[in-house]
Amino acid sequence: MDQMRWKGYLRKDGRKGIRNYVAVVYLCECAHHIATEIANRFKEHPVQLIGSQGCYHSEYAQNILNAVCTHPNVGGVLLISMGCDGVNVRKLEQIVSESGRPVNSISIQKAGGTRMSLSIGVQWVDWCLGIIDGVMKVNMTVEDLIVGTISSGNDATSAMTANPAVGQAVNHLISQKGTVIYAETDEMAGLEGVIDERTTKPELAENLKEYIEKAARDPRVLTYSTIEEECMSLYCQTGDAAICGMIKPAQRPTKPGLFLIDLLFGDQKKAKVPKINVSAKMVDMIASGCHLIICTTGKGSVIGSAIAPVIKICANPMTFIQMRDNIDINAGGILDGDETLEEIGEKIFVGLQFVASGIPSCAEGRGHQEFILH
């Protein structure tokens, strides 16, 4: 498959982005409204709203915000806090500043309330947009990309069309030195043997075995006969590549290749609490550096994300007809015999490069910018 080349944004830390956003960040719920109002003044501009409900200190929230605010798709950052927040604003500001990005923080208490904060914020974002417009553009290819894969609203068709077709696209990505992060890691019960065969390092295989055990839960029976089959219906998104490692949210892959991301809550040996909120999973993947996310659906899904474009692959041709607005690629042709898994896999591979080059995905086009820290 031919590699496309497009222009990306070179950050001072050397990373390359496919979008050039000003992130308006609320650091507690009290700052949410003001941040929303500021972002809303720039609806036609690359400005995105993200944030945390704050109030208490959470190492998780701090790590994710540090990572997302220095994500390659982010050019500048406006931090808005009440003044009494749980997030360490100074540390966050310092991290963003050290990454070479313009950053400003508004303390609502110091600024003198809603109207003053709003006015300072709008002025700053306006200035920042001008600055980041001048960011150096550089060539990018799939070698520079980290792509996340996930699913939202599976049905019986997901297992036959969209998920295995994503696996084909992942094979293309990996063979061209791209990097992929797979998120449905809470559903790998029974795949110990399959996963073991695909890991190169024995200690990684051991870690993964332990992880799978922690995540194990009772199988749901649909058209699946066994738990192995149910888990494979998602895991087939990973294609055939060797597994390079298991990363935590906000930890970045160390080299090109396929990575799994740990999305279980808690560190207890027998913790069985997987993260189920798709937006929260996407935020974790973005914190780990995903430039864009491929999301399969069968029943239909509208969700997008702030910071990284989400590309929807629809497994079910009926859903595609009903929710055309929200679907980037229809994999349903596989059911009718009109298209093969390989053909849809190539379409996904080509499509994600188009989106990387700047063409908005459906979720972006409809204004979806979901973001939740959970």
Partner: protein, 95 residues
């Protein structure tokens, strides 16, 4: 219309891309099948004769084993296949 899809070249089962009615004939490439009973979309049928105890291969990997012999074209589900890992998982839960 062909309603049988092989997801991986190693597979010994095919998936149904549409419901199949009792008495229907259908094909997958060169292979021809007759279905005496109706089977719903998403379910599996045997791509070839499968011995009792043999692994059921889908997505190119084992998803369990046959608990009895399965003829080519037979519906493959809970009545003739079983998880290899579930007993181990249940053990993990209980301990």
């Amino acid at each position: 219309m062909e309603k049988l899809l092989k997801l991986h070249h190693l597979d010994n089962v095919l998936v149904l891309t549409d419901d199949i009615q009792a008495g229907e004939h259908n094909t997958c490439g060169e292979m021809e099948f007759y279905f005496p009973r109706s089977i719903d979309m998403g379910h599996k049928v045997a791509a070839r004769y499968i011995e009792a105890g043999e692994k059921i291969i889908k997505y190119g990997v084992s998803i369990g084993f046959a608990t009895k012999m399965i003829q080519m074209g037979d519906h493959v589900h809970l009545h003739n296949m079983k998880s290899e890992v579930l007993p181990k998982l249940i053990n993990t839960y209980e301990n």
